[in-house]
Symmetry: C2
Subunit: 193 residues, 2 copies
Amino acid sequence: MDSNSNATNPRVTTFVGGRTGEWAVRSQRTLAGESLKPASRISMRIGHDAESEDAVWVVRGVTTNDRYTTSSEKRELISRQVPVGRPEATRSALILLRKSAEWWAMPQDERRQILEEQSQHIAIGLRYLPAIARKLLHCRDMETSQPFDFLGFLDYAPKDEPAFEEMLGQLRATKEWTFIDREIDIRLYKAEV
Amino acid sequence: MDSNSNATNPRVTTFVGGRTGEWAVRSQRTLAGESLKPASRISMRIGHDAESEDAVWVVRGVTTNDRYTTSSEKRELISRQVPVGRPEATRSALILLRKSAEWWAMPQDERRQILEEQSQHIAIGLRYLPAIARKLLHCRDMETSQPFDFLGFLDYAPKDEPAFEEMLGQLRATKEWTFIDREIDIRLYKAEV
C-alpha cells in the first residue's frame, strides 16, 4: 500500500462545535438554508482531528491554491494581509457557506466575472486589511460529503467590529451572494479554555 | 453531529492497483518522481471504496468544477466529448500526475496563461474528441494526503491508440508539463474480471 494513503492533508483545519473550545459563541444565525444545532463553544484545530464526544457538529476544510486571484491582486493581498491569530484579535466570525449547483456549473471565466468584475469580492476584502484577518477553507473536494463549500474564519480586535460588519454587509449585497444557498454566521469571542 | 459528516462525496472515484479488477496492466512507467509498486490489474470504482486485501496501491480523486475552462471552450467540449466507458473503448491509460509547489503558488491568471495560452492544453485535447474520452479527477484538496494532484483516466478503441500517443506527446512537450514533478503512465486493456 502507498505509505501516504492515510496521512492527514496538512492543509486541513477542523472546527468542532460543542461545549468546549477556545472560542465562546456570542450568536449563531442561519441566513440561508438549513440550520445547524447550536454550540456554546467552538474549537479550531489544525488537522483532521478525532471528534470529541461533546461535539454537536464538526466542519472541516483545506486551504488551497488561489482560485480567482490575479497576480496584481495577489501582490496587493500579500503586502497588506496578516494571518489569523493575533493576540489582539479577541473577536471572530465563522461563516459557513454553500454555493448553488448553478454556480458550480459555470465555467471559470463566468465565475470570475461575477466574483470580481461584478461583485468586487477581492477588492472589498482588500479595503479592510490588515484589520480583518481571514482564513478561507474549501470543503467541496474532500473524500466525505461536506455540508458547506467554504468555511471563512475571520478575526479582529473589538475596535474593528464596525469595519467587519461593514465589509460583510457589502459582500452580502453582491451578485455573487445570490448564488449562496446556505449560510450560517457564528460570532465568537476568545474565552478561557 | 451533522448527519452528512461521514458520507462519501458522490464525486469520488477510486483506483485500486493489485491482482484483481476489470483492467489488465500492459505497462506501468514512471516518467518523473517516485515510482509505484507494480500492479497486474486495476479496478476503477465509483466512491471511496473499502480497500481490497490484495491492493498494492490505492489512489482516489474527485471530479470537480472547471478550473480554467472558459465559456466558449466549454461549449466546444460539451458538443464533442463523450463519457468514458464506451463498449468499444477496450484500451485505456491511467496517468498519475503531481505538479510542483511552484505551480500551486502561482495566481490563477498565471496558471491559466501557462496552461492554455502557452501550452494549449484544452485546445490539444479538443482535437482528439470524441475518439479519446477522459475523466479527470482532482486529489489535492481531500482530507488525506494524496500522492498525486490529478488522476487522468482516458479510454479509446484500439484503432485510436496512435491518436492517443500523439495527443500525449503534444501535451508532454508543453511548458505546462515542466511543472509536473511526478508522473506515472499506466496502460491498460479490458480484461475478464
